[in-house]
Amino acid sequence: MQLTEIRVAGFGGQGVILSAIVLGKAASIYQGAFATMTQNFGPEARGGACSAQLIVSDSPVLYPYVSQPDILVVMSQEASNRFVSELKDGGTLIVEQDLVRVSELKGNVKVYSVPATRIAEELGKRMVLNSVMVGFFTAVTHLLEPDAVRKAVADSVPASFRDLNLKAFERGFEYGATAQAVSPQSLEDAGVAYAQE
């Protein structure tokens, strides 16, 4: 696994940090690679802007911060507005399609979208949207072994919610397995972007 910079961003309460913990744990504990996670959050416990930076690599991670993410996951409009411009050329953008309209994308970015919150609500608990997102991430990026991520989900959530989170992971994974990347040019047709006036 070559050094990959990831940013997961949204608002507090969406499980942004936990999704980065799950991915980092999968890489460093269950897949034998290295992972370093740092986080930024506002003073609010819920609702404030929140983002996690995760770097995974085959060799020890030295520099702790993400400068140009290879993969950016945005789960709120604010997060999208703030971080989309940082995305590396040729990078991957993953959006919560019901909550985010992206704009001003570089030409060669691959965009994947998923209604993670809606899927989580169908499962009966909006709270598990992050596990849906982690499943989707695992399927579309091919960065981590799915079984490593499953194990990380299982041991990162309270026992009473383990099955529900694993189910949420599978739903996101299945959704991602058939998802097609959309190029920025055709985002508007796909309903995940708007042209800025």
Binding site: I29, A35, T36, M37, T38, V61, Y65
Partner: protein, 385 residues
């Protein structure tokens, strides 16, 4: 002796440096902490407060840092291994009692998760600007030990080391983390308890009738009494003789204060821990510590790719400063490059130890983030000329 398994959370974890520090303290046998919450250190005591009741111990949230830093010393004299945790503004308030711990030879650990200063500065952002304060912050002549972890794994491993050194030398040990290391989450491996060596308290073997609290018995470190077993002892911050009672005369002062210094200085080479790389052919040596050592590593790698002969000396103990190592290197290298998240602190020690034999270049940073590796690289290139 081996660690008490009740305090050891054996396994592979993905936790941040603050939590790893807490686990290190529990593994080392700490069963008491007093603290006053302050970003970015709060997670250490938050975790301790929730974990310690399950292993049989106490956390007290005090009214302020002065109270926290003296309460823990009461716990130590009562027999516990104890520590407190803070950041810059709180560390400043604790200085009086750090001097007290040095004077009374109270083995304890002060964790400082450094953030930007002066004053309240940058609560959620990193700095390494308390390094001189750790050494010189309290008045009078004394020595302390200070350790600088650069990863959550080291926050665990070196916290145990900090407690062990505190017990061996009866000295307050400063655990100098920084916000990045404290809030950074990585894999942390906690070994089984029977693989963790902990240093027990230096309890006297003398009988109640023959014991003098500050008698050194040929060693430089006196033994402590078991509280509650009939030993009589007196603890004071005033200059004291072997009986522990105030004796404020120049000869007693001279003997006591010189011993407080010498017990650390004489063991400095044994206490010193550092990590070295490519020092054999190095013309320039990058001296760094804490989070900066990881950023510096990237700069060193880039410099070596350019064909520059650059070596690394990472300070794991900042105090006592490994001056013999620097002195020895200064005779064969051109220059030292010292990046740190302050406007120049440990660089002065490097310069002092190099004593003009090699040049010294600071790479300063006012804090709030970490260096860009390119900024360190530029100075390495300049120093190589």
């Amino acid at each position: 002796m081996k660690a008490d398994p009740r305090g050891v959370l054996t396994g592979v974890h993905f936790i941040d440096g603050d939590h790893a520090c807490c686990e290190g303290a529990l593994a080392a046998g700490a069963r008491f902490a007093a603290g006053y919450p302050i970003t970015p250190s709060t997670e250490v005591v938050e975790r301790f407060a929730s974990r310690v009741p399950t292993v049989g111990g106490t956390f007290i949230q005090m009214e302020d840092e002065l109270a926290a830093s003296i309460t823990l010393q009461g716990a130590v004299w009562g027999g516990a291994k104890a520590f407190t945790v803070t950041s810059g503004p709180g560390f400043s308030l604790m200085m009086e009692h750090i001097g007290y711990a040095a004077m009374t030879e109270t083995p304890c650990v002060f964790v400082d998760v450094q953030r930007g200063g002066p004053s309240t500065g940058l609560p959620t952002l990193p700095a390494q600007a308390d390094m001189m304060q750790a050494r010189w912050g309290s008045h009078g002549d004394y020595e302390i030990i200070a350790l600088c972890p650069n990863s959550p794994q080291e926050c665990f491993d070196l916290t145990i080391k900090a407690f062990n050194l505190a017990e061996e030398f009866r000295v307050p040990v400063m655990f100098m983390m920084d916000e990045v290391v404290g809030h950074m989450t990585e894999k942390v491996v906690i070994p089984p308890a029977d693989q963790i060596e902990v240093t027990p308290r230096r309890h006297t073997r003398k009988s109640v009738d023959n014991y003098l609290p500050y008698e050194t018995n040929g060693d430089m470190v006196p033994d402590m009494a078991h509280a509650g077993e009939g030993y009589k002892f007196h603890v004071t911050g005033l200059t004291h003789d072997e009986h522990g009672y105030p004796n404020m005369t120049p000869p007693v002062q001279d003997k006591l204060v010189r011993r407080l210094q010498n017990k650390i200085r004489a063991a400095a080479d044994r206490i010193a821990m550092f990590e070295e790389q490519n020092l054999g052919d190095a013309e320039v040596v990058v001296v760094s510590y804490g989070i900066t050592s990881r950023v510096a590593q990237r700069a060193i790698d880039l410099a070596r790719q350019k064909g520059l002969k650059v070596g690394k000396l990472r300070l794991i103990t900042a105090w006592p400063f490994p001056e013999n190592k620097i002195r020895e290197l200064s005779l064969k290298v051109k220059a030292f490059v010292v990046p740190e998240l302050n406007l120049g602190q440990m660089v002065h020690e490097v310069e002092r130890a190099a004593a003009g034999k090699a040049k010294t270049f600071a790479v300063s940073h006012a804090g709030g983030s970490v260096h860009h590796p390119e900024d360190i690289l530029k100075v390495i290139v300049e120093a190589s000329r």
